[in-house]
């Protein structure tokens, strides 16, 4: 039987820029294919060209055949007839993909409008589809507007909408971006089930190799518009052959003991030559041979690699062991947090507690990881330490001063020097008006020298750039000319100007591609070693946080659930919430983030009780737990004894939530 979708030698050009080059792959009936690539790899363009929705400046060559139909040659009317009915599409950002002024039911029915399904039973069909993607109450959902359901639910609706006309193929373009980790896991599970339940073929496009491998049979790795490797999902991690794929796996937190970033950058369209596009970053690069055009090599039935030196590439060797972590038990604290509490008045007179009696020390020279889902209060904690918000009660002692209620504008220079911050978004962290040198010079002048003597300023700017491994010439550039990773490096250099005691890093790598992310992690570790500054590293991705941290704090609704060394928390998670975070089985379909008011705390129960799979009785609902010592430096906030929790884990495995 011929494959459902067959792409052959597809080249895609936007204006003068080559976006996709000589791309070939097939998707069989009932098969799921994952396409992975970092930003700028052209992965979304592949989905858009299949569905025939490209910008006007685009032109495509090659062939795309869908069930015998030539998609590139199809007329607009032919393409329209295929959309929805034969080829479904799930976009990223479900919140924006649903019409905000139309009820969900009507939007679902619209998907059936073009189909030949009998009009009479359509409503029932839509309801049935909703229950098949995991809704208990399809009728209520259909009567709602999109803003009345959560992000995870919205994406389920989008998937149901794509499934309704029973298409043979569904294209999923980053379907989980913007969703919380725990919700993401549930959506991925649903996607993985689609094939078995509905027999639909999938093209799953993502930047996240882990997710794709979980949901797909085969995986293609896209680099700068080249499909560099195509392999069965299992082989990608076990036996990656292309140097880029090997590098990519080594960048993935949780896959390798030490993150090994890929040096260099993705070539921009005008830097791309006829040969291997990865050549500029490849350690096996051989001038002449790699720079000329070549064909992909088929290793076995399902494994193809586009590397002309494949025979000389050593097999993939996994870095064994655990990430390096320091034990700094004896070190004096850089910052001491006691009884810290932050509450906001919420609608209905309730208090929304963002931070709830936090006690925490960050030791000198330590990297402390702070993990939690969105709304857990981790950013609020960083904001209070930085002075962009003030605590309701409690203290934060830095060098003998309490800064818990001291807004940043009221802090003197000595205090400002103590705590500096690296922000999340690399696009807005630097002022586009000023040069890099100006930004660093300003930080040096305000935090270090203070005098008008300018001669050492230039030297210091170069020093700081050197500290974050950037060339001095970058000083005269504006942020626009820098890549995201470079901007984040400058932001780190800027924060280091006053030699801070504590560096706050709030999700500072989450907007970066994995290879760049690994490099920033490496840099932060290196800086800690060289300058001795403590780092509070905030993230939502536990494997990533584990990679960099010495100790980890797991936060849930403003309360630390588990505190311990990185290996304790990651390898031996005790608290049910940590366990759920790690196993990715935490199905937290809360109706709406704003309603996540910790009402249970008001009556004194455990904050996690509503989602906990290990509730032992009424005590969980009525009494707040005490911290229990599981091992030296390892604490959990739970009623159940640590030994008991271990026993439960080994016996039953993680339970699903009711």
């Amino acid at each position: 039987m011929s494959p459902l979708l067959q792409i052959e030698n597809l080249s895609l050009v936007y204006g003068a820029d080559q976006v996709v080059r000589d791309l070939s792959f097939t998707i069989g009936r009932g098969e799921s294919f994952g396409l992975v690539g970092e930003s700028g790899s052209g992965k979304s363009s592949v989905a858009n060209v299949i569905i025939g929705d490209l910008p006007r400046i685009a032109s495509a060559r090659g062939s795309i055949s869908y069930d015998g139909i030539d998609l590139l040659g199809a007329s607009r009317e032919q393409l329209r007839a295929l959309r929805g009915r034969r080829i479904g599409f799930v976009q990223q950002d479900p919140g924006a993909s649903l019409n905000p002024t139309m009820r969900i039911g009507r939007q679902l029915l619209e998907a059936l409008e073009q189909s030949d399904a009998p009009v009479a039973g359509r409503k029932e069909r839509a309801a049935e589809m909703l229950s098949r993607v995991g809704f208990d109450n399809p009728g209520t959902i259909m009567a709602r507007y999109p803003h009345q359901i959560s992000g995870g639910q919205q994406q389920r609706v989008m998937i149901a909408m794509a499934l309704l006309p029973q298409p043979d193929l569904i294209l999923l373009d980053e379907p989980t971006s913007g969703l919380d980790v725990t919700v993401e896991a549930a959506v991925i599970k649903l996607i993985a089930e689609l094939r078995t339940q509905f027999g639909t073929s999938l093209l799953f496009i993502s930047h996240n190799l882990n997710l794709v491998a979980k949901a797909c049979d085969r995986v293609g790795v896209l680099y700068a518009g080249d499909l560099v490797e195509e392999a069965p999902a299992g082989s990608v991690f076990e036996n990656p052959r292309h140097p880029y794929t090997q590098g990519l796996v080594k960048c993935l937190p949780g896959q390798s003991a030490v993150l090994l970033p890929i040096r260099g950058h993705v070539p921009s369209p005008d830097e791309r030559g006829p040969g291997c596009l990865f050549a500029s970053r490849c350690e096996h690069h051989l001038a002449g041979l790699c720079d000329a055009p070549f064909d992909a090599v088929t290793l076995d039935r399902a494994h193809r690699v586009r590397c002309t030196r494949l025979a000389d590439i050593p097999p993939f060797a996994r870095q064994a062991g655990a990430p390096e972590a320091r034990s700094l038990d004896g070190a004096p604290p850089a910052i001491t947090i006691r009884q810290l509490r932050k509450s906001y008045p919420a609608s209905g007179g309730d208090l929304f507690v963002a931070n709830d009696d936090i006690d925490l020390d960050i030791r000198q020279g330590e990297i402390l990881g702070l993990v939690g889902e969105s709304g857990s209060g981790k950013s609020t904690l960083a904001k209070i330490i930085a002075g962009f918000d003030v605590a309701t009660s409690g203290t934060i002692m830095v060098g003998g001063t309490d800064i818990a209620k001291l807004p940043v504008r009221k802090r003197n220079r000595a205090l400002l020097r103590q705590v500096q911050m690296v922000f999340q978004n690399p696009d807005s962290t630097l002022n586009p008006t000023h040069t890099i040198g100006w930004a660093l010079g300003r930080a040096i002048r305000k935090l270090e020298v203070g005098s008008g003597d300018l001669s050492p300023l230039g030297t210091r700017v170069r020093e700081l750039l050197g500290l974050v491994a950037l060339l001095p010439a970058l000083g005269s550039r504006k942020p626009k000319a820098l890549s995201g990773g470079q901007r984040q490096r400058v932001a780190i250099a800027r924060a280091l100007a006053g030699q801070p005691r504590l560096l706050l890093a709030d999700e500072c790598v989450s907007a970066l591609d994995v290879s760049v992310q690994a490099a920033i992690i490496e840099l932060l570790q290196d800086i800690r070693t060289r300058t001795g500054t403590a780092i509070l590293f905030i993230g939502h991705d536990l494997p990533l946080v584990r990679q960099i941290s010495d100790r980890i704090v797991v936060l849930f609704r403003g309360k630390p659930m588990e505190v311990g060394s990185a290996s304790q928390v990651y390898s031996l998670p005790l608290h049910p919430y940590t366990e759920a975070l790690l196993s990715g089985q935490n199905d937290s379909e809360e109706p709406k983030k704003t309603t996540a008011v910790s009402s249970t705390q008001a009556v004194g129960g455990c904050p996690y009780v509503q989602r906990c799979g290990r509730v032992i009785g009424d005590i969980c609902r009525t009494h707040a737990p005490e911290y229990q010592q599981a091992a030296s430096g390892h604490q959990i906030y739970c009623h159940i004894r640590p030994e008991e929790l271990l026993r439960m884990q080994s016996q039953l495995g993680p339970k699903n939530v009711a």
């Binding site: 807005s428 000023h434 935090l447 932001a491 924060a495």
Partner: protein, 286 residues
Amino acid sequence: MMHTRDPHKSAAAANRRLWRHFWPKTVSARFGISLILFWIAVAMLAPWISPYPPNAQDMDALSNLGPSATHWLGTDLLGRDILSRILWGARTTLIVVPIATASAFGAGTAIGLASGYFGGIIDRAISGLSDIILSFPTLILYIVLITSIGPSLVNIVIAITLASAPSIGRIVRGLTLELRTHGYVAAAEMRGESVLFTLFLEILPNARGPLLADLSMRAGLAVVTVGTLGFLGLGLPPPDPDWGSMVAENVTMIPVYPYMALFPGLAMCSLVIGFSMLADGLEEDQ
């Protein structure tokens, strides 16, 4: 990508860059700025290029008022040359408009920055007062103000400032609210920069795109306002020519001598279109 150190080359390159920086990229903006520059040139050169003094009466022309070889655009009922009066009228407009626009923009930017950056009670007070001023229909506000305080250059500037600063303030406030969430503003606060530094060196420069477009649009509106006030008899006192009052003086003559009101009206339109096109082009540029 090393920078060349040849001084001649870099100076020429800097000039080119400067030119490219200020010369707009879109066709409509170029067209608009050309119109504006044309009228600025006319206003500056009026004493030299206008064929007659603006208030000189040509008694011989009274027998033939229409356009002729001696009076290209004809004369008005008093025998004054229309072309000369239009050329001189450009001066009146192009003196009042920049002053009024600059004043309105200064005030609007100040209240917008304060409102957006500080928030809280300052924001509520400024926004509340702005809303009240904005609830007056603009022209009625002008009529009430000018008839009360009297028509003069200063009063017209005051009136235009009062009427447009609130809406400029609203725009600046919105931009400030957005820009102040950016990491670089937080970084400036964390290194102890003063409020004024943060506002004028970190926030304002990044709002210049939308603000320049708005500035151009406001200048166009100011041209309309000055003309309308002149038309309604609330403009600068005679006898200096002003396009609006030229139209007003001759509007009753239209059935017989349409050109008397038509030409100054068209002059006004071309200048306003210039500002609008520039604003539109600048908006598109971003």
